[in-house]
């Protein structure tokens, strides 16, 4: 059985169908790409997976558990983490604090009574895990600067680090390369590969950058106008005529 299994997911906004009958699965430990032109419904699908939008039809299971009616924060606790296309960082906090908050949220070590008794500080083990993640992502130099002072590329890494601190089994990446230049994208791909292999993480990658997807994903799903038009291994999909027409245009 797959780790994530979405069957026949549909969603429409006041009569306009954004997704219809989309089925997708991700196995443990693999990287799967979800591609499609702008407006194809990729982000809507993401929001359905995370419980930000309720799907009108279909069924989504994670690790065999039906996700219907499970709020976003509980899905996060079950092991689904994500990053955002328009980065969503905690204004005023440093990367270290971002990771620490995520670490504590995972441990659920935050309790009001502990704060009230002044036991709310980070334990040595937690601080060490944060340091480890900072090192893994190469964020040590920027660890204590406020996030507003960081470049977009570093911001994306902070988001990935924050997501990884929750020890997810499935990581949803929403266009991680958008706004990054060629070098930054290559660096991001390299770091993602390292992390993914080290943790045997499943990744669902929504992406525009074809090279980036090709270098990472083993399997692809292609959405166009809310309909799944192709799926299979990366090479098969790129060979598919319909995909080339919808996504890459006639010229390619």
């Amino acid at each position: 059985m797959s780790l994530l299994d979405a069957t026949g997911v549909g969603k429409s906004f006041s009569g306009i169908s954004a997704l219809s009958d989309v089925s997708l699965d991700v196995d443990a430990g693999e990287i799967v790409g979800l591609i499609g032109p702008n407006g194809a419904g990729k982000t809507t699908f993401f929001n359905c997976l995370l419980g930000i939008l309720p799907p009108d039809s279909g069924r989504i299971t994670f690790d065999g558990r039906d996700l219907r009616g499970v709020p976003t924060f509980k899905r996060a606790r079950m092991g689904i983490a994500r990053t955002f296309q328009r980065i969503e960082l905690f204004v005023g906090m440093s990367p270290r604090e971002h990771l620490l908050v995520a670490e504590r949220a995972r441990n659920r070590s935050g309790a009001l009574w502990k704060d009230v008794l002044h036991l709310g500080g980070a334990s040595a083990a937690e601080a060490a895990r944060v340091q480890e993640m900072l090192a893994l992502l190469g964020l040590e130099a920027d660890a204590d600067r406020p996030v507003e002072a960081l470049s977009l590329g570093v911001g994306r890494l902070v988001e990935i680090g924050r997501a990884l601190m929750t020890e997810p089994r499935l990581l949803l990446l929403d266009e991680p390369s958008s706004g990054l230049d060629r070098d930054e994208t290559a660096e991001l791909a390299a770091k993602l590969t390292v992390v993914q292999q080290e943790r045997e993480l499943a990744v669902l990658l929504v992406e525009h950058d074809i090279e980036f997807v090709r270098s990472l994903a083993a399997r692809l799903f292609v959405l166009d106008f809310g309909v799944l038009i192709a799926s299979g291994t990366t090479d098969e999909v790129f060979a598919d005529a319909a995909v080339r027409k919808a996504y890459l245009g006639d010229l390619v």
Binding site: P71, G92, S109, G110, A111, D115, G120, G121, A149
Partner: protein, 680 residues
């Protein structure tokens, strides 16, 4: 039948005024992004000007109307825009709300200075011979005033709809709210269209103000304007603060409903006597909680908001330890001196004031939690304090338990009430949450408080002072009570600091930074906010209980009316909502300005003004100061205290500090924040 028709007709004229104000609120919100709570006071101002010109000074009706509605009230709007709101255009929703609250508490007091606080009678409407009535059927009459109100409302509604839908100006005004910066990039002069919005909406408030007097039997009285604005808020929320047509319909509906209820509800039941005056609040709360769609409407986020510099960290986090030690030594010496003087030399009055300031500091820490840490503007903090006061009083008076235990239970009850308010309100967020808390504050004071088991009926319960073994905190031992209050303040202040620096504070910071991102790492946003509400309500309740014990009576009506909660918010946020010092200084200001500075200085000010014709000073004059203080919030959203700390530290590190030389090379302690957008 005739009763019903008469009630509906009366309701239509009431409702037209509600509708007119509601339409003005929606217009202002859609075209300026500001939810203008000061609308009622603005309407009152115009009505007062008109009354003064026409009735007091005998100017002809239309000249008076022209000056009041066409000249004065748009001018007020223009002034507000130039002096205040243009600085707030890119500010957060909370910043705008606090500034408006400042106006809401300051404007009426300024009007009282010249117009007096008592109701003025024999006011006239906008048509001559307004009280002339026409008979429609048996027992049903309409007056010229009624007709003028309904027609005036319709004309204003139609005109605005056309303006917003069809005109270029309307389009520009709507665009400026979405993103001032984007609109300016598109070549629109945002300044001018915002000025136009303010003048127009203010004019509308003025128009509603002069229409209103005849509905209230020719009385110009601030109280009716206050209720009015709540009704108008309820009507505007019906339209989601977005639809002018729904706001208009909501206003009419509310007016009619109110009049029908007053005919058909039995007059002697508790329900009727409680519900009738509170209907607008009940409707507001119900609409907020039950209207679907509101929850999905999030605050307008500016796509270019990323270019704003981030809020600075607490000043203390970037000072060098030497300076911090110096200020700590100074603080200890100063407070030891004040303490010595209070205990050995000061008169009883000063001790009394010091106790009050300490208790208010405790209460204000509740605002530090809910607004400073959780980022929510709650307008019912006075209600939580009132709950604590009532619970302490009832428990101590009826069951004879120790008053200290009663205070703690009172705090727990206040926390429970906080949860009850927070659970339905939290799915709203932003301005709607604040409005729901405001509705609850009025609902409590008008419906729940008068119940016998809450207030103790006509006879207020006697609350004892605490007695702890050999230590007596009784009425002859105010100094002992002062120590008790200081201990409570120290404990609560320490807890707030621990919560701020602990995990709870970090989670709340994360939620303020980004709700979706916080949820994506497994933080339950609602649970954290409910927790913040509960803690905040408990602190306010504890303060209320202390005050009840100190005054030996709950005194809810004089100490904790709903409006005072707005003054508190304004004061604390102005001085600094993130820090404990902010709450303490706000409390000192709250007590001493009213009790010491104003009585000394105001008579002197009054003597300077020969035209000042009031016998007694308006009680709430200090709120003018506090309210106007909120206007500085636009420039220093971190609070005046933090701003000054930063300034004094900058001075220190430039001229005195040991790290002076070293610092010159590196260019300051903290890294200069770079806007996120420009770095990418």
């Amino acid at each position: 039948m005739a009763d019903l028709v008469a009630a509906v007709l009366r309701g239509l004229s009431f409702g037209s005024v509600y509708a007119l104000l509601a339409v003005g609120l929606v217009l202002a919100f859609r075209t300026t992004g500001v939810f203008n709570l000061a609308f009622g006071p603005q309407a009152f101002l115009t009505a007062a000007v008109y009354y003064d010109l026409h009735v007091t000074h005998g100017w002809p009706m239309y000249v008076g109307l022209f000056v009041a509605v066409i000249v004065v009230s748009p001018l007020v709007g223009l002034l507000l825009d130039r002096l205040l709101f243009r600085f707030l255009r890119n500010a957060s929703e909370a910043a705008r709300l606090v500034s408006v609250l400042g106006l809401y508490v300051a404007i009426p007091q300024l009007i009282f200075l010249w117009f007096g606080t008592n109701a003025h009678s024999n006011a006239e409407g906008i048509v001559p011979g307004g009280s002339v009535t026409y008979k429609l059927m048996d027992g049903v009459f309409v007056s010229r005033d009624d007709i003028a109100i309904v027609v005036g409302g319709l004309v204003a509604f139609g005109g605005l709809t056309l303006l917003l839908r069809r005109s270029a100006l309307g389009l520009r005004m709507r665009a400026v709210v979405e993103s001032t910066r984007l609109t300016e990039l598109a070549g629109v002069d945002a300044e001018r269209s915002s000025m136009a919005s303010w003048m127009l909406s203010s004019g509308l408030a003025g128009f509603a103000g002069v229409l209103l007097a005849p509905v209230f039997a020719g009385q110009v009285d601030y109280l009716s304007y206050q209720t009015l604005v709540v009704a108008a808020i309820a009507a505007s929320v019906v339209g989601g603060l977005n639809s002018i047509a729904l706001a208009y319909a909501g206003g009419l509906g509310l007016g009619v409903l109110q009049q029908i209820l007053s005919v058909y509800l039995p007059t002697n039941s508790v329900l009727a006597s409680g519900l009738r005056p509170a209907l607008p609040f009940v409707v507001l709360f119900a609409v907020l909680v039950f209207l679907p769609g509101l929850s999905r409407r999030r605050a307008v986020t500016d796509p270019l908001a990323g270019v704003d510099p981030p809020p600075p960290a607490l000043a203390a986090s970037e000072r060098d330890p030497y300076f911090t030690r110096l200020t700590h030594i100074f603080a200890v010496v100063f407070f030891a001196g004040v303490g010595y003087w209070l205990f050995f030399h000061a008169s009883g009055r000063w001790v009394d004031l010091a106790v009050r300031a300490t208790i208010y500091a405790v209460i204000f820490l509740s605002i530090t939690v809910i607004t400073g840490l959780a980022g929510q503007v709650s307008l019912c903090q006075a209600t939580f304090a009132a709950v604590g006061a009532c619970a302490t009083a009832q428990l101590a008076a009826s069951s004879g338990m120790s008053v200290l235990v009663a205070m703690l239970i009172g705090a727990a009850i206040a926390a429970a009430v906080g949860v009850v308010v927070a659970v339905p309100a939290l799915r709203l967020g932003g301005i709607f949450l604040s409005l729901a808390t405001l509705a609850f504050a009025y609902f409590f004071s008008q419906v729940i408080y008068p119940l016998g088991w809450v207030s103790g009926g006509s006879r207020q319960p006697d609350v004892p002072r605490p007695l702890l073994g050999p230590v007596d905190f009784g009425p002859r031992h105010d100094k002992a009570f002062l120590v008790l209050a200081l201990v409570v303040l120290a404990v609560v202040g320490t807890l707030v600091i621990w919560i701020r620096s602990g995990t709870t504070g970090r989670y709340l910071d994360a939620i303020r930074g980004s709700e979706v991102a916080a949820a994506s790492i497994g933080i339950s946003v609602n649970r954290m906010r409910i927790l913040a509400f509960a803690v905040s309500a408990a602190i306010a309740g504890l303060g209320g209980g202390l005050m009840a014990s100190f005054e030996r009576s709950p005194n809810v009506v004089s100490n904790f009316p709903p409006e005072i909660g707005l003054v508190w918010i304004v004061l604390v946020v102005t001085l600094g909502a993130r820090t404990v010092e902010g709450a303490i200084q706000a409390a000192i200001g709250f007590i001493f300005i009213a009790a010491v500075l104003l009585p000394t200085w105001v008579p002197w000010l009054v003597n300077l003004q020969p035209w000042y014709h009031m016998e007694a000073l308006p009680i709430g004059l200090q709120t003018v100061l506090f309210g106007l203080g909120a206007l500085t919030y636009a420039k220093h959203p971190e609070g005046i205290l933090e701003f000054n700390k930063r300034k004094s530290y900058a001075f220190f590190s430039r001229h005195i500090g040991p790290g002076r030389k070293k610092r010159d090379g590196t260019g300051g302690g903290a890294p200069e924040p770079v806007p996120a957008g420009s770095a990418s």
